[in-house]
Symmetry: C2
Subunit: 198 residues, 2 copies
Amino acid sequence: MNILLAEDQTMLRDALSTLLGLEPSFSITAVSDGLKAQALLREKSFDILLTDIEMPGLSGLDLVAWLREQQNPLASIIITTFNRAGFVRRALALDVGGFLLKDAPSDQLVDAIYRVHRGERVIASELALQALGDQDPLTDKERRALRLAHEGLSTAHIAQKLCLSEGTIRNYLSEAISKLGAGNRVDAARIARHRGWL
Amino acid sequence: MNILLAEDQTMLRDALSTLLGLEPSFSITAVSDGLKAQALLREKSFDILLTDIEMPGLSGLDLVAWLREQQNPLASIIITTFNRAGFVRRALALDVGGFLLKDAPSDQLVDAIYRVHRGERVIASELALQALGDQDPLTDKERRALRLAHEGLSTAHIAQKLCLSEGTIRNYLSEAISKLGAGNRVDAARIARHRGWL
DNA sequence: CATTGAGGGTGACATTTGTCATTAATACTG
DNA sequence: CAGTATTAATGACAAATGTCACCCTCAATG
């Protein structure tokens, strides 16, 4: 079984490569980011794509989205550090085969590969529940403003970056704060981030 | 060689266990946090401690600090995700044997274990340089206030938590902002965090 | 003993944020 | 076309934040 592994953290990538390589039927190709994975996927076909979400260049979700655009139904398993409902929902919409946390034991990963290869779906149970939870209430602008506020930019700077007036930004942030039940912009950003909405 | 591995992310812990276990001379014991490592270290002796910094309960640095308090000179290697100068300085002060980034290839880790076991010191070169950089200008109170501000707490809440008056908190944060050349508290927290001072 | 210097606190003031009501311009829809 | 969301902007006001100068207490140090 030809497996393409995309993971940016070198030590984990190496270690997973080695670990999965111990399975006699697996043949592993490992790359350090989404763009390299994309390049390989153009050239050659694989049986399973195993990818992290957070990667420089092209995220794991964007990579799968691209595959789907190419009408490529390649079975994919997403592994991620963060338990964020937003990610899971987006992944499910892309029809991924599996979604695991890096907090899961590694034999669960091996098991997931076999099962997804047989056409089953494997979603970490902690995540499955969350995915059904509350929807992201933020609008696109609110999200972008919040993201910048989170970096410590002032209202004026955010306004400049988003090409909007200062007052409008204040309105957006105020909306976001109230929607999320937060105490101020930073608090709001923290909450949104925690739920995968940022 | 008996190696104790402390790392909270299960998948990485499993994978590293397996990978290091392939070396015939290594015998690996893996635990998921600093407190469990501490418990084991009380009972039994090891040749090398391999520990992450960011862990629930007791951080890797605190763990080594505790060893030193116990007059235990156990050779230790710190592995961490983040390239933060403050961490390196503190680690060096604790006389650790090695300091590596999770971004390093895994064979470098194996190599480091052998070298540290022989009494050498292995510090990732990206880090060694940084460690000589600028010193943390923050006082302890400023740091604590900044940490809470970073979570989105208001001045009043921070004052309550630290048992200080609101005005004093404002003074501290104002000091921190000016020392770090930041635009506001959030910006200051970001800067401090980035340099490992938080 | 006088001096210095932390550590913590006040008060006053300017600026930035957060809230809300209202309005204008555009696009969508029956 | 009238009706109605959507998106952006204003203005006004309250609250939180940032800045600064100055005060008090208590060790430490000469």
